[in-house]
Every structure is written in C-alpha cells, then in structure tokens.
Amino acid sequence: MAVEGNSVALPQFLKKIELIKQGAEARVYRGSFLGKPTIVKERFPKLYRHPLLDEKLTHRRTVQEVRSILRCRKAGISAPVVYFVDYTSHCIFLEDIVGSITVRDHIASTPLSSAQKLPEERLDQLAKKMGQILAKMHDEDVVHGDLTTSNMLLKAGTESGETELVLIDFGLSYISALPEDKGVDMYVLEKAFLSTHPNTEALFEKLLKAYAASSKKSHAVIKKLDEVRLRGRKRSTVG
C-alpha cells in the first residue's frame, strides 16, 4: 500500500522517465523499475468529472485492471506482469513487452510486407489465435470490456514466425459468468475491428469460429452476440 514518502517520490519518478502516450484513459510512460523494462500506467484525474465520481471510477478501474491481469496470468493467459501498484496516484507498474506491436498496426501494415505466406493466410492464423485467447479468457469469466486491436500485442516471434498474443488494458474489465456480458464483450471487439480495419468481415468470422471451437461455453455467448447486434438497431430512434 502507499507510504507517505511515495506521494512525492512517484511524481518525481514519472518526471524523469519517458512519456510515450497520453490516451483517453491514462498517461503511459516507459522506464526502468528494479532493473526491469517497465511501463507505468498513470490514471490522472479527469477534470470534467465530478470529483467523487472521478475518484470512484479511477480507483475502481485501477483495481479491476490489476485483478483481471492477475486472474488471467494465473490461468495461463498472456498478460503483462504487474510489478507494483500505487493506489494514491493510481499508477500501475507493468512489464514492458519489448519489441511488440499492436495487432492493429500489424493488420494495417500486413498487405505491404513481403511475407513467404500470403498476407491473408498470415492474418488467418492471427485471427485464429485471437479467437483462442479470448475463448480462454471468457472461460475464466474475465470480461475485458474494451476489446480492440490496439489492446492486443504481438510479441516478436521466433524462427517459424510464431507469434504470441498478449492482452493489455484491462481497465474496464470485470468478472462475470453471464453469456450476455461476454456477448457484449465480443460485440465491442467486432465493432472496433470492423470500424478500424474496413473490409475484414471474413477475418472476423474466422476469429469467431476459432472462439467457438475453443470455448466450452461459447454457444450461449455467440447467441447473445447475435441478439446484441440487433438490439441497437431495433430500438425506436426518435428525435
């Protein structure tokens, strides 16, 4: 837990290391902690929110992120190692997956790269892997809450081009066994996938196939996914 000295030490530490991104949710830094390459995720206060709401949300998301990562890791699902958490400033110190790129960047750049296999085949393998890892996660009753291709990393692989997928950004995650929640999780991914990477419907289908094949509870989830897809459209839109 946070000690008094940390209230000064942590901000000073953050000033010295490299800020790599300011996302919608948090500031992300890269540095070294206890001799290991580290990512520091700082959830800073959002001034537009009511302070009570902001504190509740920020704290809840920090806690949920850490819990979900640990739960995934215990089940053998790839997620970064958590080194340290400061609950006062809402900072999480995570393993830096060196040499990785987001799945988003990978898909965006694949047609241009000169691969031995056809680009579609390489992406098919990736879609299959994505389906499998998500199935494993949902079987652990972890609902990610913010599945996008920017929240999946591809670890630099070995000779055969085998790559390992790592899931990140568990801030909106929670534990749930309900097919409804898992269906919505896949719906969020589908929307993010198709809006970021146009004309990849077939690829996403392969992802869902792999998901259905790998998960024991997938049938109910896919059914819910179909329901959720229709829901937004069936609502009477007025005004």
Binding site: Y48, R49, V188, G239
Partner: protein, 373 residues
Amino acid sequence: MHTRPIAMTFFQCDQVFILFKKNVSHYNSPSPSNCLAVMTVVIGFEGSANKIGVGIVRDGEVLSNPRRTYITPPGQGFLPSETARHHRSVILTVLKEALEEAGLKPADIDCVAYTKGPGMGAPLVTVALVARTVAQLWGKPLLGVNHCIGHIEMGRLITQANNPTVLYVSGGNTQVIAYSERRYRIFGETIDIAVGNCLDRFARVIKISNDPSPGYNIEQMAKKGTQYVELPYTVKGMDVSFSGILSYIEEAAGKMLKCNQCTAEDLCFSLQETLFSMLVEITERAMAHCSSQEVLIVGGVGCNLRLQEMMGVMCKERGAKLFATDESFCIDNGAMIAQAGWEMFRSGQTTELSDSWITQRYRTDEVEVTWRD
C-alpha cells in the same frame, strides 16, 4: 389546375384549398429563369418526433426556420398517433410561415427535402405526405434525408468545423460519429436507449414539466442540486448503456425522495453528471482512436450547457476544439433537413416518388456521403 383529393382527406379542406389556389399559377415545369446555376434553394420538412419544422436554405444561408413543439402534460410522453395529429394541425401554417419569412414563392424552390427516417412512424408519414404533395404541386424534385445526417450537416454548416468527431445526442439517438471514406461511421453508440430518452423518462417519474422540454427543466433543476448521489456508470468499450441507470434512478427516486435523503434537484444533478461523463468519455476514446482534434455536439441534448461545459474541459486538456450550436439548430428543425438536402441535391441525388417512403430505422452509416471526399 386540378386539386388532389387524396390529400384533402387528411387535412382541413379550407387550408388545402387556399394553398392550392395560391399556387395554381406556379404549377408548371421549372422555367429557365428558375435555374440560376449558382443559387440553390432547398426547403426541408422535419417531423420525426414531437417537433415539426419547415426550413429554407439557400447556398448555406438559412432563410427561415419556423418550428412547433407538441408538448404533453407532466408525467406523460408523446405517442405516435397524437403527435401525428398535432403535426397535421400545424404543418401547413408552418409551411406558409417558412415561405413568408424567407420572402419566397414556391417557384423559387429548387428541391423539396423531407425526413425519410429514422423516427416515429405516424409523424414521419404525415410530413412525408405534405412534402410529396408540394413537390408534385410545385413540380420540384424530392429528396429523402436521413435525420441524423441532417443534424451533422447543419452542425458543420453553422460551426464550420472541418472534420470533427461528432457526438449526436437526442431523445432518440446517441452516437459518436466520424467521417471516413464516404460514410459517417458510427464508432460508439448506446446499446439500448438514447441519453435523451433516459432524461425524458426520468422527468416523467418526478413529474416535471415538459415545457419547453423535459431536458431543459432537468438542466435548470440540476443547477440547484448540491449532493452527488452515486449511480451506475456503464461504459462498454466505445459504447454506452443507459437502461440500467434509468431503472436504478427510477427506483432510487421513489425511495430517496420519500425518506428525504436527497432532493429531486440532487438527483437531476447526479444524473446529468453521470450521463454526461459517460458521453464525454466515449467521445474522448473515439477522438484518441481517430486522432481527431475537433468535437461537434449535435442533437437536442447538445443544447445542455453542462454537457458543453464538460466537453469543453475535456477538449482543453487534449488541446482540441469544441463546436456546438444553439437551440434553434440543436433541436430538430426543418432547415437542417434542407441543408442536408442541399448537399445531396448539389451532388446529384434525388428521390423518385416511388422511393419516397419513410422508415423508422435508418442507420447513419447506410447513407453514401456523395458530397464529401
């Protein structure tokens, strides 16, 4: 020239007769003098919900934009058949106002635009009927416009925003939209009810007035709220969900107000803070995703100054610019349909009479945006 008996069964006979009589002399094919290459005048008819508006736009200038609102007593929402009845009773008056304010005659109009959807069935039909009738009477082409796109195009016109992330929030819609490759793509939206619907239904529960609109009255009450009451906060990726918050606050209102744990003003305040934080959050995520530096808020809920304030704070932190319009353009109006129609017409689109039906469901991304690259 002959009158059209079909129309007369739906409207007060004398009103229609006067309209026909006045325009008899103009019922001819467009003469060369009407086809000024530079100026395009479009009239727009909007009535998908409880607002009925007719507006005229000429090359980016709003010449007139009268509107009427069907207001129900406190505690009641508006039903399709009654709303349609209201629209029928005033639409011809509003049409006359629009022409008079603009100082134009039907011959000066180049195109008749109307709301094809989405919205409530009966009101949409009522308005479409009038649009079809006048288009045929005046001999002008018709254009069926998507209501959401009407909001976006009017927002773009008024604010001159370049390529913003659009937050479209109203009683019937809640979407985060960004333009990409000839479509207004929906990046985030509500997976159940619209934010305005949530506010309107809460207003009914605590029986506040619907005049001028329930949302406006909630906003005024919220200003007097002091205690923040914790409510569910449901953001799912880039989407939001409001039905859970609504059921929670409906129940909480009953319990808490009875025990004097808080005031109705406190609930209004807390509801706004929660709902608007969710909207700002999904907008921010879409902006981060698209690397956008502009936000445009459109739709009736966009009138809310607290929402604009919160969005402004978020934009400032990111170095982005916020664009918003006032209530004459935020709230459903005819000119926005005219403006979208103007864009569509100029890019070569028209709607055949046989295609001039209406639809309650009409996704924003279904429309091919032929007027932008």
